[in-house]
């Protein structure tokens, strides 16, 4: 079945130094799918995303569009069309907002289209337009989160990894964010892996979902099914009703 999957993860192990965090994760993501990864604090969600894009050493099978990923450095993974909104946002603090966004399109050559895309990001997050010449490090937390998301979109990725993108965003913006992600997903068939604490909203929005606990997948299924099954939702996600 993994033959047609856009992203294949099989028996993935990863960790930091001596400490193992992921103990044999496996799932597939189809092209154009929005795939949610849920789970409690410390379950290894961030670690999974780091493993996917080569930030940490891994063992096991990782294939993107048929190409094996392990042993690739993050820059090569990025050049294969993977964008990552990392935990902690990774802002280039001394650079301006506009420069941060331009860097998102670093691997692209089409300058005119890049300029357009920057405008589009400004349309998504109008406050960034006002702040475009300001050092990104001086922005508010939420504004920096917008920069990180905008920057990831700037590369026109085929796969986008979102690590708690709604962190620090105002409720209204969070809603908008989900709209944006869906729009990008639909318009450009961008595959999305979404790590979120807001399970409610996430399940409403994702196609499939995987629940992680202490480095293992404990539940996989169509997002709608998981959401519908109140018992499951309560057991694994603490969602009431």
């Amino acid at each position: 079945m993994s033959a047609h999957a856009f992203l294949t993860v099989e028996d993935l192990h990863a960790g930091y130094g001596a400490g193992k965090v992921l103990h044999g994760i496996g799932f597939d993501v189809a092209e154009g799918e929005i795939c949610a990864v849920l789970g409690p604090n410390g379950a290894g969600k961030t670690t999974l995303l780091r493993a996917l894009c080569g930030m940490i050493r891994t063992e096991g099978v990782l294939r993107l569009d048929g190409v094996a990923l392990p042993r690739r450095r993050p820059e090569s993974v990025a050049r294969m069309g993977v964008a990552h909104v990392p935990e902690g946002r990774g802002t280039f603090a001394p650079l301006s907002v506009a420069e941060n966004l331009r860097l998102g399109a670093y691997t692209r050559r089409d300058r005119a289209a890049v300029a357009e895309d920057i405008e589009r990001v400004y349309d998504y997050f109008p406050v960034l337009r006002e702040r475009r010449a300001q050092a990104a490090g001086s922005l508010s937390g939420g504004e920096q989160q917008m920069v990180a998301i905008g920057r990831a979109l700037m590369s026109r990725p085929r796969l986008i990894l979102l690590d708690e993108p709604s962190l620090g965003l105002a409720p209204l913006v969070t809603r908008e964010l989900f709209q944006i992600v869906r729009a990008v997903n639909e318009r450009e068939r961008t595959t999305v892996i979404l790590v979120e604490q807001n399970a409610h909203l996430t399940l409403e929005f994702a196609h499939r979902a995987h629940v992680l606990e202490t480095g293992r997948v404990v539940l996989s299924g169509a997002a709608a099914d998981i959401r519908a099954d109140a018992q499951v939702a309560r057991a694994y996600l603490g969602i009431e009703g």
């Binding site: 961030t46 406050v127 989160q145 965003l169 604490q197 399970a199």
Partner: protein, 252 residues
């Protein structure tokens, strides 16, 4: 009692706070909400003297807070947590918390270097207190772990523990629920309520998690573009049209 009035902060062309005023009574739990960039963190930064206010006054228990040196804020009974974490990554969790208790000890370079008995007694007392706090916040298991490399939610809790170690009367929490799942948010709300009782805290909490804010706060203040646009009970603020337009959106 905290009285903020006419507080204004500008950065170049941006007015991050624009004549903001409100008061917080002892024992209150006040929610501070508002769109991204509204000036919530900036307000905290003024209260803790990270930023210089351009106009306005802040009085705390009758004293002019804006005249206090940054390091002396904590001695006024004010402690805070940071939105993006301000931990000491190479220190163990316990030491992070012990730094929070810095002001409750006296040892100086010389007495510490000589390891005078008074220093040892003081140290033992601090440790006991810190360990109790770690227990209370369920952090005992990671007490000896360096702060770097722990999950985000845990780090937020360590920050809270560190702030509490200062034995504050006014606690400023900047988005404490970040990175917590639904269930964890509820647990945290319960914990915070309990702590407030136990320690007679006055709390101002910035949070975008509306369930949390509306559930726990006695009062909510909403900022937009640096100005206060609403101030009232959670229910009042939640139904305020300006707040809905600017912040909550229709669906909230």
């Amino acid at each position: 009692m905290l009285e903020v009035s006419g507080l204004t902060v500008r950065f170049g062309g941006i007015t991050a706070l624009d004549h903001v005023g409100f008061t917080v009574r002892p024992g209150d739990m006040v929610g501070l909400i508002g769109p991204n960039g509204a000036g919530k963190t900036t307000l905290f930064n003024c209260l803790t003297r990270r930023y210089q206010a351009d106009e306005g006054t802040v009085r705390w228990d009758g004293a002019d807070l804006l005249a206090v040196a940054p390091h002396a804020i904590v001695a006024m009974g004010i402690a805070r947590t940071f939105q993006n974490l301000g931990l000491f990554p190479e220190l163990s969790v316990r030491d992070n918390v012990l730094v929070g208790a810095h002001r409750h000890a006296k040892a100086g370079f010389l007495s510490a270097a000589l390891r005078l008995p008074s220093v040892r007694r003081e140290e033992a007392a601090l440790r006991a207190e810190a360990d109790a706090l770690l227990d209370r916040l369920d952090l005992a298991a990671v007490a000896d772990h360096p702060a770097a490399g722990l999950p985000f939610g845990t780090l937020k809790r360590i920050e809270l523990a560190r702030a509490l170690a200062a034995r504050p009367r006014l606690l400023l929490l900047d988005e404490p629920c970040n990175g917590l799942s639904h269930g964890e948010v509820d647990e945290f709300a319960a914990l915070l309520r309990a702590l407030r009782e136990e320690r007679e805290l006055t709390v101002i909490v910035v949070e975008h998690h509306m369930g949390f804010v509306m559930g726990i706060c006695d009062r909510v203040v909403c900022l937009e573009f640096g100005s206060k646009i609403a101030d009232g009970t959670p229910a009042e603020v939640q139904n305020d049209q300006a707040v809905r337009d600017a912040y909550l959106g229709a669906a909230a």
